[in-house]
């Protein structure tokens, strides 16, 4: 096995609170992530899963411990613009059409105009929004908006795709559809994906490994390898193996 792509070592995150009782969002977390792996961070609210993702993305600094990505700091990786981030809400710019939303990171990076157009078309194809390029965000459904968010994250051709509960605000049907879409996009692009969620079936369906976190203080309580065959589609949710994984993970919470 290769050296891990992302190494998280003894990371802790403490938020000071005025009354003296500090909140420990993460307590001594260790985790290695391989190249091209699809990893889910799963846990109830308050377990620090989003904090961990934000530390990897260099949006937060850990109180102690270190993260190294290909031997570099998260800050270096961010400055090289190797991260694509998808947030819980689509975070689209209301004043830009779908095309121009996808274009935005490329404008920042100074990608030449011609290349941008080609890239946008490619992205629109990838997320199946070909006919919606000139719409404004308010004209799209929630699921479509989130797909635009994914397209925007992928537009820079990042090495890492960081997703923070991207589908949690969507209804169950849209969520399952987008889960499938995400896997097909992932199989085409082969990024390393870190996916934060509080939905057990979603994490099982998507991931190579599910990292289970538990709260107070936030820590890793289990890591479950998902050995379901790929490519996966939604029919796999009906198999006993899938059910076993879901049950196993649910039990691990009850044990806490």
């Amino acid at each position: 096995m290769n050296a891990p792509e992302i190494q998280i070592k003894n990371v802790s995150m403490v938020y000071p609170v005025n009354n003296g009782e500090d909140i420990v969002a993460l307590n001594d977390v260790n985790l290695d992530i391989q190249e091209g792996e699809f990893i889910s961070l799963l846990g109830p609210s308050g377990c620090g899963k989003t904090t961990l993702l934000r530390i990897i993305a260099d949006l937060n600094k850990p109180t102690s411990g270190s993260v190294s990505i290909r031997g570099q700091s998260p800050r270096d990786i961010r400055l090289q613009r190797k991260n694509g981030i998808v947030f819980q809400t689509p975070v689209l710019y209301d004043w830009r059409t779908v095309r121009r939303n996808i274009c935005m990171p490329m404008e920042i990076m100074g990608v030449p105009k011609k290349e941008r157009t080609a890239r946008i078309n490619q992205m629109l194809d990838l997320v199946e929004l070909r006919d919606f390029g000139d719409k404004y965000p308010f004209e799209l459904s929630g699921g479509m908006q989130q797909r635009v968010g994914i397209a925007r994250a992928l537009a820079l051709n990042p090495e890492f795709l960081l997703m923070d509960e991207p589908f949690s605000a969507l209804d169950e049907f849209t969520r399952e559809k987008l889960n499938e879409d995400l896997l097909s996009i992932w199989s085409k692009t082969k990024k390393t994906v870190i996916f934060v969620t509080h939905n057990i079936p979603e994490s099982v369906f998507l991931s190579d490994r599910v990292v289970v976190l538990s709260p107070h203080p936030g820590r890793i309580s289990a890591i479950v390898d998902i050995n379901l065959p790929r490519p996966r589609n939604n029919s796999i949710r009906e198999t006993p193996e899938f059910y076993d994984y879901v049950t196993k993970i649910r039990r691990s919470f009850e044990g806490v």
Partner: protein, 265 residues
Amino acid sequence: MISKKEQRIVAIVWIIGIIVVWELLSFLLKNVIHDPMAATKLPYLHTVAMTFFENWKTLLEAGAVTFSRAAIGFALGASVGIILAVLMSLSKTMERIAFPYLIVSQMIPVLGLAPIIFNIVRDMNVSRIFIAAYITFFPVAVNMLSGLKSVEQDKKDLLFSISANKFKVYQKLMFPYSMSYLFTGLKIAAPMAVTASILVDMLGSQSGIGVKILYSLYSNSTNIFWASVFTSAFMGIISFYIVIFAERLCLPWQNAVPGKEGVRA
């Protein structure tokens, strides 16, 4: 929800209703109460309208003088307001220094200062522009600042994650986001700038609609007086709708966003 078309019909009926009531009241004042000043206090609306059409050229010329000065002051005040808001959003210290004074400045009766400012600068146009600018700058600065400060953290994180520099963040995110707030401020400020300009007219200018109002009042040409008052009223309303029109033009994505409450004081 009432449809757009129905709204328009309702508004038209209202306007017609007001005209009818006005005519009725003038009739009552003149022929029932027999007020000797009736023609001055509340003249028939149609005579005012006729006077306006007879004198539209002079009235509009006078209006244009006042309006153009108001516009210069408005542009100046809006620029100062925007710059101040950006400075305040860039630096916490700057915000701490400026914000309390921003609020206090509103408690100074600025329009009341008009004669004093006129006395200081001794130039009608300069003082007119200055007062219009002073009045414009506050609503613009406050609304723009509240726009800049209400940009969601996620949107900033997104740009941070691709390491955009400060200039890019303002160019791509902060300014476009604050545009609707800015327009809220501009909508409040526009009629106020016109008001300021008219007031300075009235305090001893040589030309402008305010001068028309005062002269006609003192020289007992009632119809001209009322026509001038209406002209100035329309100037205020038009300034408001010019801003709305500009907003529609600049912010096509705004249609879906419900109106935001502006900050005036």
